[in-house]
Subunit: 413 residues, 2 copies
Amino acid sequence: MADVFDKCRAWTRVRDAVTAGIMPYGHVIEDLVDGTEAVVGGRKVVMLGSNDYLGLSADPRVKAAAQEAIDRYGTSCSGSRLLNGTRPVHGEFEQRIADFLGREAAVVTATGFQTNLAISTLLGHGDVVLTDRGNHASLVDAARLGFAEHRRYRHNDVEHLAWLLDTSGADRGKVIVTDSTFSIEGDLCDLPAIVRLAREHDARVVLDCAHDLGVLGAHGRGAPEHFGLESQVDLVTGTFSKAFGSTGGLIAGSREVVDFIRHLGHPAVYSAAMPPAAVAAADMALQIIEQEPERRTRLLDIAERLHNGLRALGFDTGRSTTHVVPVLIGDETLCLRFWTALLDAGVFTNAFVTPALPADKTMIRASVLATHTDTQLDQALEAFARVGRELGVIPATPPRTYEPVMTARPVTA
Amino acid sequence: MADVFDKCRAWTRVRDAVTAGIMPYGHVIEDLVDGTEAVVGGRKVVMLGSNDYLGLSADPRVKAAAQEAIDRYGTSCSGSRLLNGTRPVHGEFEQRIADFLGREAAVVTATGFQTNLAISTLLGHGDVVLTDRGNHASLVDAARLGFAEHRRYRHNDVEHLAWLLDTSGADRGKVIVTDSTFSIEGDLCDLPAIVRLAREHDARVVLDCAHDLGVLGAHGRGAPEHFGLESQVDLVTGTFSKAFGSTGGLIAGSREVVDFIRHLGHPAVYSAAMPPAAVAAADMALQIIEQEPERRTRLLDIAERLHNGLRALGFDTGRSTTHVVPVLIGDETLCLRFWTALLDAGVFTNAFVTPALPADKTMIRASVLATHTDTQLDQALEAFARVGRELGVIPATPPRTYEPVMTARPVTA
């Protein structure tokens, strides 16, 4: 007799990985010291696996703001924004984040995942949504929930995108939806080409700036500011669980579009409001992001050092020019062994294997924080060198030359 | 030229409602006194529109627990559970909630919406998912994201469900997914009939106990306990944003199934972990739910008084036997006017109109809290009486008899 739970019984991958001693997922972070040093399995390790890019989740000002919001508003809104969950902090913060981004309006929800899902609200019958194959899972699911025709282009392949636009029918509503910084590979989308194609084909552009909001651009307004193309991007989505040290997400754009999503998007309408503590934390983080640009500078400096330190050793960090630093490994089992050996050597990273990536194109992701010290970075590079040589990922002697990376720092005039 | 944003421009409903002065959505709750009295538009009103059923979002113990978690863990996990977002509180709380529910395992995510979406992970090609047409939007979207054939039965119509099961093919994996307490009408699903049909057809049962977890059953274990059918329900989902005074959600069941969802469900894998403050608040709420059964008793007592007070006036509260009290209105414009007049008369409720309900079957939802006083309830009933008569929803003189409601209280031996 068939049973919908059969698939759970048949799925032994985690049990197998645990048995083999190469299980990189779900480890308990027992403690975090300044966000940069983690205690895992009772041992202190350098934390290169967090998205707390500016180190704000441990910032005393951010913590105090969240605690004060609990004093004032309690621990929950106990309902959705539209019915009963809108408190004064929501509208105030939405206006501030919209102003920060130079947009008319913004709506926040309890998670970045849900704000991305809410993009589905715009995808009607007869429309075409064009998405990068490297997009985050939440955008994939948004396209699946929408009613538009879903056409996917090869990762960062603007010629493929152009061909799909050419063949999508001139009279149909079209929207290009892409990550601006891809979450695994850390590379930036080709925004100049994308907005040019959008203009040529009367398509809209929706950009998920999850990893670069608060980080890229002279003012931290993310990839659109970095590229000098803010006016060409119709809708920006983002998360507060990375640079903003909180949890939640936002969509910013014209009031008309934002209100449409606010009133009709399932993840906005049928889910409890972003908790006041999370709003207050993100709001304080926004102030710090505006007032302390040196955090962004430090982050991209140290990211550049990590990229080039790894490259000097013979590692391949792909096409990333950001603080999300991929280390290409290849074979899946090798990747899991590499992750485990790195942890033993005192560095916590993230492993990306199937189904996120093909089994022969797996990678380790290292993400730096503005609060990492140079010493921590040196320790991490030493561990990478040792493990890389032991497992044959890099040659015993470093290559004579390497292609250096320059991270996506603002050009100062 | 078609534009995906045309639909936003064409959508004037909110603007029209605001112009007409009958806009029930998105009002700012300026203040909440003990959770039971709201300040809206500068005026104090009785709050009959919140899901804070046990009054725990304002409980000093719950607030302190959340604030301590921020001290200890910061304001965010800065990543997903599998990669870097698992802190000691997550596993501890998951074990406690699983023990509370008498289940092997549980997984929590940042919102109840997302836990429900994660049910999609179980819906494979060739499977059949059978859902109640009155299900919450998150379950509708879960079915749409899954790969199973989606068959919907008329609201609480077990004969229709039986027919769909009969015609679904004996050799296919089948799962019935339903709300236990329906979120608008407040009626309970016919769980005895559903589990009987499931047994006969080798189908699994997934129950979303969002509104009754912590509320129904002698120990607050929700609808399955209320019906004495816990062992017949395969998977329970729930939210922490109602009785638990927090934000987040859970799935509880066998370890095999829970782990499958934990490792493969997009909303679990690709979204930031439930924040430690939210975990700590829900965990403290769980302790209070276990230790203070009088809150549940009070809630269902006062709900019964509201039901019967409304019925004595001539209102129709449908088939609800719970603390979610619908007041059937009918015509959509009348419903919006009724909601507005009630607010003017000092009572905040929720209005449900299209697209949630047909335009001629709209309703007001009043939800009581354990912390409401008898005086507040009397004030609310007085306002309902006055507005109901003014707008012709009830007769000028009360009916001579009415069918009383008994709420779903535990039977004491």
